[in-house]
């Protein structure tokens, strides 16, 4: 359906990097359902949990950082239509975390990321491996601000950015793909921006 009178303004020199329904921004908008949680780094832990909640492995902030860091530069795409190119992150890759926990093969096909403040999101384990995801604590060379999910957030740039869970505290393995916070409210279980999977049924 052609919209009478609409011509549009192409803002980026790389339109092929924009998934359908997205627009390019130099800004870094903040969206969340509630206020940024207050986090005391002395009490912070990252955990890998089995489906029943049993701890597989737990790290304190210092232990976690000592596991080794790597860098990702990626385009990110928010379901609210903005995209940002070439964002720089530093953190620890998820496969390095699994390696440090002695997990050779993931015990289940899905995880639920869980966070301070109660946020959750579900992800297939395969989408976290092979350099596709990290737990990030630095954005653009600076410590991640609370607004943007600090002290640490999940970063999984090939999916819509609601999957890059802010204030993350761990991953719980799951046999089935249970819906997390936004997924239970109608957002897509997987969330591939290139197939425009914004909402359930897309």
């Amino acid at each position: 359906m052609i919209t009478r009178g609409f011509h549009g303004k192409r803002k980026t020199t790389n339109p092929e990097r924009l998934p359908p329904g997205q627009y390019f921004t130099n800004d870094f908008p903040v969206l969340s359902a509630g206020p940024a949680p207050r986090v005391n780094i002395a009490d912070w832990t990252f955990e890998l949990l089995a489906e029943d909640g049993a701890a597989i492995r737990q790290w304190s902030w210092k232990e976690f950082q000592a596991l080794g860091a790597s860098d990702i530069t990626a385009d990110i795409h928010c379901v609210t239509h903005w995209s940002k190119f070439d964002t720089h992150w530093r953190g620890i890759s998820v496969e390095r975390i699994f390696e440090a926990a002695g997990i050779a093969a993931p015990p289940a096909p899905f995880v639920m990321a869980f966070c301070d403040g109660g946020y959750t999101t579900d992800i297939p384990v395969q989408d976290l491996l092979n350099g596709k995801a990290m737990i990030a604590w630095q954005y653009d060379g600076e410590p991640l601000t609370a607004e943007h999910g600090g002290p640490a957030r999940l970063l999984i740039p090939h999916l819509y950015f609601w999957k890059s869970a802010k204030w993350i505290r761990g991953l719980r393995f799951m046999e089935t793909d249970e819906p997390g916070f936004w997924e239970a409210l109608g957002y897509h279980s997987y969330g591939d921006p290139w197939r425009e999977q914004r909402y359930q049924g897309d």
Partner: protein, 260 residues
């Protein structure tokens, strides 16, 4: 023992799936301020919505170029039309089109309603309603207040509306009338940059003592909603989180750019 990552609350039973793209026809437009315009649409198969939800719209140019954006619904569920109030963003391709070009009998594509977290229903409300609006963040909160009025609710409600000047206050007359006629609704307007000569209201950015003062008007936990630019929401919501009574719920929705 609660397992992290497993919801211990009741499962959402309402189906929040937004559904397919539909044609939305413009039936009326009017200016709210010189920087905001309201547009009323008719959508044939609109499934209904909750106050606070939003829609996605899609515009298609003749060469196939498309632009999609999200907009909060200003109209309450009781209104058969879908009303959007859109602000004018500098150099915004969609906001320019919606403000300057779109007219009655035009049609765009619309999809929704979207969003199940930032909603309020008078029928399910048990706590007093505390709303903080920064600039155009007032739009979804206005849907809540309009719904509250049409539902005949006597739940205590407070709107704190912060804008740079009186000229930028959207729905000003409607809010004044609501405050004058409803003993359970109170309005505080904060003008942070330009105030009229006879202004006696607050004139600086919301701070801790202001939030404490507002919260002191409630003797029990509240349902708080904060909407506006990211910095406004960050400041206000963290103050409300810190100062409100245990058992209060705080929901946020952020608009627009974070930087200059």
């Amino acid at each position: 023992m609660a397992i992290p990552g497993v919801s211990s609350g009741t499962r959402v039973t309402r189906d929040f799936r937004p559904g397919a793209w539909q044609i939305a026809r413009v039936v009326a437009t009017w200016n709210e301020t010189n920087r905001a315009r309201s547009i009323a649409f008719e959508v044939d198969d609109w499934p209904g919505h909750l106050a606070g939800q939003h829609v996605d719209i899609r515009l298609t140019a003749a060469d196939g170029y498309t632009a999609e954006r999200s907009y909060s619904i200003a109209s309450p569920p009781e209104d058969p039309r879908i009303v959007l109030t859109v602000g004018r963003l500098e150099d915004g391709e969609v906001s320019e089109f919606l403000n300057d070009e779109l007219r009655e009998q035009d049609a765009i594509e619309m999809r929704g309603p979207i969003g199940g977290a930032f909603t309020w229903s008078a029928l399910q409300a048990a706590k007093p309603l505390l709303l903080f609006a920064g600039g155009s963040g007032v739009v979804p909160l206005m849907a809540m207040l309009r719904h509250r009025r049409l539902a005949g609710s006597s739940i205590k409600a407070q709107l704190v509306y912060s804008a740079r000047s009186l000229a930028e206050i959207i729905y000003r007359r409607e809010l004044d009338v609501m405050a004058a006629h409803d003993p359970n609704f109170d309005l505080i307007t904060v003008l942070t940059r330009i105030q009229p000569a006879d202004w006696t209201g607050p004139s600086k950015r919301i701070d801790r003592s202001f939030v404490a003062q507002v919260l002191s008007r409630f003797d029990r936990p509240v349902d708080a909603y904060v909407c506006g630019p990211a910095s406004f929401v960050e400041t206000v919501s963290s103050l409300v989180l810190e100062l409100s009574e245990t058992g209060s719920a705080i929901r946020t929705e952020r608009f627009g750019p974070t930087g200059p």
